[in-house]
């Protein structure tokens, strides 16, 4: 089991951040992702594996300022 934005989500072995975002239907192009407090850069999403019991936070950036 992992946690995504506080919700329990099934753990899938060898799943990357990109695959997790797709599974969660987070389709926004601009997201800030932290796993267990560490920032994961967007360029690393395709080869960063989400380990079991990870706490994942996803914030999506919306234009306007």
């Amino acid at each position: 089991m992992i946690k995504v934005n506080g919700n329990n989500v099934d753990f899938i072995k060898n799943e990357t951040v990109s695959q997790l975002l797709k599974r969660m239907k987070y389709v926004f192009p601009n997201v800030v992702v932290k796993i267990n407090g560490d920032l994961v850069k967007r360029t690393d999403f395709i080869d960063t594996i989400v380990l079991d019991k990870s706490e994942v936070s996803v914030i999506h950036m919306i234009s306007g300022g």
Binding site: N30, V31, V32, S57, I62
Partner: protein, 198 residues
């Protein structure tokens, strides 16, 4: 008024500095609120000039149209308090050097416009300046729905966040929500600098 508390706050903020990336709807309003609160040094970066269309939500005035935004904002801050040190950079923040203006500040405010630049900025600054708290904002467009706004804290990143807001290209930008979220950011800055108000 608690004069002891206000004196303690004054002493603390007199030694505090805040960096602000962007001087649009969020940044201009954050800067003015922090100036009024008594922050002694502000570092503000923006590349733009004041336009007529900015006046519905940004802290500029008709007689400042065509002025460089950071210069106009500096002028306004001096009208409030001449003693504030305002360092301005009139340039666009570019990938790989985005952290440069902000090495000597206590807190950084992300007040940028496009989602892409916001993300790049947060990624780069948090990586290069991991000890400096960053207060960002996402989801200002529209009006109403104040109760959807929350503070999301991820380590040293504080996001003023409405995940249900639309992209500004598909919605409107209006003073009440923009200024509400700007001041929400400024309020978090004070909390970071002063500790929780007990």
């Amino acid at each position: 008024m608690d004069t002891l508390k206000s004196e303690k706050i004054r002493m603390k903020l007199q030694k505090s500095s805040v960096g602000i990336a962007g001087a649009g709807g969020l940044g201009s309003n954050v800067a003015v609120s922090l100036a009024r609160a008594g922050i002694s040094r502000l570092v503000i970066v923006d590349f733009d000039s004041v336009e007529d269309s900015n006046l519905n939500r940004q802290y500029y005035f008709r007689d400042q149209i065509d002025m460089i935004k950071v210069e106009a904002l500096k002028e306004t801050i001096f009208r409030i308090d001449e003693s504030i040190k305002v360092e301005v950079f009139n340039h666009r923040l570019k990938k790989d050097t985005m952290d440069r203006p902000f090495h000597n500040v206590d807190v950084i405010v992300e007040a940028l416009d496009s989602a892409d630049i916001k993300t790049l900025f947060i990624e780069e600054v948090m990586k290069k300046l991991p000890n400096i708290p960053v207060v960002g904002c996402s989801g200002v467009a529209g009006y109403g729905h104040s109760d959807r706004i929350t503070t999301k804290k991820l380590g040293k990143l504080y996001m003023v966040y409405d995940e249900k807001a639309k992209d500004s290209s598909e919605d409107v930008l209006m003073a009440p929500r923009v200024i509400l979220m700007a001041n929400w950011q400024a309020n978090i800055v004070l909390e970071i600098l002063l500790g929780e108000d007990k």
